[in-house]
Symmetry: C2
Subunit: 202 residues, 2 copies
């Protein structure tokens, strides 16, 4: 199981990974607020002391889960953003289609973890709110950058409002899967995907 | 306080209203899952038996809160949809601007209650999921209808994909305020508002 880099020997690194994986799963399912440290320890099957040893507090653990999740989302986006053979609209479309696929294969049960955290704690936890905001800002900047390439390549008009389009794509990526949790309708998500492509062209 | 219609005498109707108002507030703040029936009773300051007398169960209570909230949202939308003197883009824009105003005056703390419920329980509670889905379907139909008027009036091209635009507006209305919970940025919300106007014109 532990094939990645090791920070401090085999087992402890595995503990850390297990807690993060179970934390992410439980935060999706129940939300950050309703998940206790004991829930995470039990689900991960690790010794009690290891949680505080690695993370210090539930809030710090939440921030690490958000960070890891955001890194994975940025990596997914970049894997599409870097495909030079595709139009920019196709790159945004491929990125969103991959998210649709992941969502459907979760049986329509896990929307974006950032929207989950934002709904659950942004209004009441300033530390986590600022962490979620930082994640949104990273996604937004990545969208702005790729829309800038579209403008350079002449796929977007010279006067296109790139900041506004990036803001809109971010809201669509967040909102589409929240609605999808309730309607479980792939056609609905594909309608939104089409609109995201349109925002990156003409 | 009780100036509205009375279903069965003064005080009990007030009890029902108090529980619904406090329930909505607590569901925004903590989510449905983390709010107990006792939390609602304590916040409303009503006798214990009245909750089960009026609502039967927490799930049924949740469904009534969703229904009431959706009625208010549809009413807000209609108050703009019916303004014959405005272009359809201006009507959608006015509707969204009103939501921005409400959100800012809540100190950026209460996004749409439907997204709150969807994130919190749609994946695990089929009864509430179907209730949330019904609410989304009502909003979606209202958007489709008004976009249809835009097409009749020549404000949208004859070939415009009304269903796709309505799907996109629904995702934007849900997603923008989730992002707004984290970034608390009115300029961000106004960028999205501009895009909603664009979806209802040309």
């Amino acid at each position: 199981m532990s094939t990645g880099k090791r920070a401090g020997g085999g087992r402890p690194t595995t503990y850390r990974k297990l807690m993060l994986a179970e934390g992410e799963r439980l935060f999706h399912l129940r939300g950050f607020r309703a998940t206790t440290v004991n829930d995470i320890l039990e689900a991960a099957g690790v010794p009690k002391g290891s949680f505080y040893h690695y993370f210090g507090s539930k809030a710090k653990f939440g921030a690490v889960v958000i960070e890891d999740y955001t890194n994975a989302q940025i990596e997914l986006f970049r894997s599409w953003a870097d495909r030079d053979g595709l139009s920019i609209a196709e790159r945004f479309g491929g990125y969103f289609d991959d998210m649709i696929r992941d969502f459907v294969s979760s049986d329509y049960s896990t929307s974006c973890l950032l929207s989950r955290f934002a709904s659950d704690v942004a209004a009441t936890d300033p530390g986590l709110r600022s962490k979620i905001n930082e994640s949104y800002a990273r996604l937004y900047s990545a969208y702005v950058e790729l829309l800038g390439v579209a403008r350079e390549r002449g796929e977007l008009a010279a006067g296109a409002d790139i900041a506004g389009r990036a803001a809109t794509i971010l809201a669509l990526v967040q909102g589409a899967f929240v609605v999808g949790l309730a309607n479980r309708n792939v056609d609905y998500l594909q309608s939104v995907a089409k609109n995201i492509r349109d925002l990156a062209a003409a």
